[in-house]
Amino acid sequence: MRKGGRKLLVASLGVAAVSYVACGEGTVANLLAPPLDGGVDAQSDVAGDAPPDIRMDAIIANLLPPPDAFSPFDLVANLVAPVQTDD
């Protein structure tokens, strides 16, 4: 019987929420920094103006992006989380 297990990272729901999840056709995940004061619906401010070559649903549909496109998930770099939308 396991007795010593415990949470290492506990998330506060609604605080500075970020989503890296595709929500279906025509939707991209929102990785823009949301407002910090109060709850945030990460799906509500979907970045519809994101360039098509970094749409999250394209990443979901096909893990191998077209040769000249890139995905934020092509990269792993320490400490800085991937960003989704162009600024």
Binding site: R2, G4, K7, L8, V15, D86
Partner: protein
């Protein structure tokens, strides 16, 4: 699909004791010493968000290291080089713990919803084992990890509190080896790659470089509206103009030049 909440746990008992024995430096850090009461709530929330994002990113990096390690074995890279890379997933898991505990020290993690099936971009499965490995090595190590070294060092120097200094110092020490693996692999593999293979590796690196530049543009734009440099650095997070300038220089010296020197015809 519905996202999964990014939260983590420890198994505990003998498993945790064995883990602590492997990496005793984690518990030796000055946990519980960061008093956030003097900082505005907004700044603390921002720091919590950054450290939670860092834990997520280190988690992704652990997956990338594990995927690359498998590929190194499949292409029969030199055994001692594989052994060197075999340590990296554990290093990254330690970094996940450090970043997670920093977030908890500041008041708790923030909300990240993610799809665990889509954490990294794998190499195309129909490629040869050598080219699959070179593809991942180029993006994850020659770009991502090589660029991390000078940036992490600068962030470490900027941190003033002993706790984030200890956390970042540990990560800097571990990453020194991670940052050179990619070019060591290329030094071994380059004679085995055809010109077409090198073009493929270059395109993989170009995608990584494009992702880096995209990330910097986002950081630059974001810091104008939400980052207080003094507080951010005090809380262990550096996003200053100096950081971005160093990043641009490092991309040239640590990534682009070493790739071109090895005959990888990058264009980005």
């Amino acid at each position: 699909m519905a996202g999964e909440l990014f939260e983590l746990e420890l198994y505990g008992d003998n498993v945790e004791r064995r883990y602590r024995k492997m990496r005793p430096e984690v518990e030796a850090m000055p946990w519980g010493t960061f008093d956030v009461s003097g900082f505005p709530e907004r700044s603390v929330t921002l720091a919590r968000k950054h450290w939670t994002g860092a834990a997520f990113q280190e988690h992704r990096t652990a997956i990338a290291c594990a995927a690359t390690l498998r590929a190194l074995m499949e292409c029969r890279a030199p055994l001692d080089l594989i052994a060197m890379a075999a340590r990296f997933p554990l290093d990254e898991l330690v970094h996940v713990e450090l970043a997670s505990r920093m977030a908890m020290e500041l008041g708790g993690g923030t909300e990240i919803q993610h799809d665990p099936d889509v954490m990294i971009v794998d190499a195309e499965p129909q490629l040869s084992p050598l080219l699959r490995t070179a593809d991942m090595i180029a993006r994850f190590f020659c770009v991502g990890e090589a660029l991390s070294i000078p940036l992490l060092r600068a962030t470490w120097h900027a941190a003033r509190h002993p706790l984030p200094r200890a956390v970042l110092g540990r990560i800097v020490k571990d990453e020194a080896a991670h940052g050179v693996l990619g070019f060591m692999f290329l030094d071994w593999a380059v004679d085995k790659l055809t010109d077409a293979d090198k073009e493929h590796v270059a395109k993989a690196a170009d995608r990584g470089i494009a992702a880096v530049r995209h990330q910097w543009r986002a950081i630059e734009a974001r810091r104008r509206v939400e980052h207080d440099e003094f507080l951010g650095d005090a809380l262990g997070w550096m996003q200053s103009d100096a950081y971005l300038e160093l990043a641009a220089r490092s991309l040239e010296t640590q990534v682009r030049k070493p790739l071109l020197d090895r005959g990888i015809p990058i264009k980005a």
